[in-house]
């Protein structure tokens, strides 16, 4: 057990070194997309509220809407910052061969790398929050709501990691998986409430969406940060169930896919 933990710990340390080998690239890579996405949404909602910034649309004034999206930025950074963009390419170009030789399974290596990334992301997110708070851009809704929201978003990142792993290992069958990843990303952005809060969606649609993982990726974590959520069984229960389903699917796909692996380029 101890030796297994040491393997994970050493891999995490190596991942830190590799993630931060190119510092500027690292910061741009993790903070850039979330920041651009935030400014696109800021402009969108500025135009919508342009006539009257005090008007309420579905219970949101302009400032509460922006506060919602600043928290969406934090959730995106911490919960969906990790991407396994290289996984499908690594499979297609045979770069995972090395990891199949080591007595440390590939999923363990990949997961350790994710944990290492999340440690760095916790640090980056905290700095972002401090900057946003000290400049008055973000509003706090109590220490408990903040800590709870933070922990829940880390839970969300586990789901996101499993989803990324799933789209990555489809490369055992598909030559290119980026379009699938883009489709997932667009669907997630829309149905998770990252662009439009779920209050704007038809009620029937929301009740269906509540059984999918989407709203638990952005909308519910924001609501936890805002201290507006009391019933927590669904955010935990349903996401937990989806994580379990994804782990089972990933295990199945990996076992089947590895039989097709050709170890190209060696």
């Amino acid at each position: 057990m101890k030796s297994e933990l040491l393997k994970w710990w050493q891999t995490i340390k190596i991942s830190w070194s590799t993630h931060t080998a190119y510092r500027l690239n690292f910061f741009l890579q993790i903070i850039g997309p979330a920041l651009v996405f935030f400014f696109v949404k800021y402009n969108l909602w500025s135009s919508i509220y342009a006539g009257d910034k005090l008007i309420q649309i579905e219970g949101y004034t302009f400032s509460t809407m922006i506060n919602y999206h600043v928290w969406a930025f934090i959730v995106g950074l911490l919960g969906q910052g990790h991407n396994s963009m290289n996984l499908s390419e690594d499979i297609r170009l045979g770069r995972i061969s090395t990891y199949l030789i080591y007595p440390f399974d590939f999923w363990e290596f990949h997961s350790s790398s994710f944990i290492a990334f999340q440690f760095l992301q916790i640090f980056v997110t905290l700095i972002s929050i401090i900057i946003l708070y000290s400049t008055g851009i973000i509003e706090f809704h109590g220490t408990f709501a903040f800590l709870h929201g933070y922990l829940y978003t880390l839970f969300v990142s586990v789901f996101w990691f499993c989803l990324q792993f799933f789209t990555g290992i489809l490369a055992f069958w598909l030559e290119e998986t980026w379009i699938i990843r883009v489709m997932f990303l667009i669907s997630t952005s829309f149905f998770s409430g990252a662009i439009i809060p779920l209050e704007f969606f038809p009620k029937a649609m929301v009740s269906i969406l509540n059984y999918t993982p989407f709203p638990y990726l952005t909308y519910y974590p924001i609501k936890i940060f805002l201290g507006e959520l009391t019933n927590l069984w669904a955010p935990y229960g349903i996401l937990f169930l989806w994580i379990g389903i994804l782990i089972a699917i990933n295990t199945f796909i990996w076992k089947r896919g590895i039989r097709l692996y050709s170890g190209a380029g060696m």
Binding site: K7, S17, A21, T98, L100, I258, S262, G263
Partner: protein, 333 residues
Amino acid sequence: MIKCQNLTKNFQSYIKEPGITGSIKALFTRNYIEKSAVANFNLEIKSGEIIGLLGPNGAGKTTLMKMFTGIIVPTSGTLEVLGFKPHERDKEFRKKISLVMGQKSQLWWDIPAMDSFLLLQKYYEIPKKSFTQRVAYLSELLEVKKLLHIHVRKLSLGERMKLELMASLLHDPEIIFLDEPTIGLDLLAQENIRDFIKAYHQEHKVTLILTSHYMADVAALCKRLVLIFDGKKRFDDPIENFEKILGQEKIVSFTFSKTQEPLDPIWEGLDATWSAAKDYVELRIPEEDLRKVSKKILEEKEVSEFSTEKMPIERVMKTLLTNPELLRKGDEI
């Protein structure tokens, strides 16, 4: 140690016509083909042997290596390495083997080699004391002490290869698979790597499976050669017998006091290789014709020197590569 019977690996791919029309067509219909990379391969390797796997590009050498190491799963047949089925990728099995790929770095590019070694120490569960001793011993032998703390991306290919070798030996593996370990290296670096492998084998008696296109590697290291062609085994014998694959032929060299005419019918069918000045030739002569042909040349030409020698494996391989029909008509073994 390694035993395979009727080992087969097929790969599926599809034929795509060139250009955008081909790409659109491929969206709707694909003409799949199945290619056999290794077919009904039988092999037995004993502990401590050094085997050279030879064959042209695409013959199936690397596919075999990948099956032996568990990277890919065989289509059919049986394979046992150290009592394990490699494709099941048991962790105990993985601890007992190592693979060095000349064309692929296994060290992490953006960190010094020593950091990678520390990671491998944890992966292979090497006790700290043994690890320290092993690093000291191998870095001394490979003369890389000064390179251990430099980022791998800053090293030359030769330096990196030495560290790759070092990484693969840290856990004291029982079998080492070397896939073109000297590819791209200059002559001196090739020799250094070869000398190290030879010295390491003499001391540790590990089993070594080597693929290389450099016959100097094979000649210096391997006692037994296995030739693969079109996924099938065509030769499996001690290196001394390799020339017999071409039949009973001898290499005879003649030096002449005058320039010769290479188109002279006397050289026909003898696979003549001329010097630039056309005053030296190497001929491949069937053993039964050796006397008759040599006598004729000595009588008709002004020969100043002549000698016969065993055919070097490089020459045998070259002959096989330029005349693949020699192998195709031969029996699969």
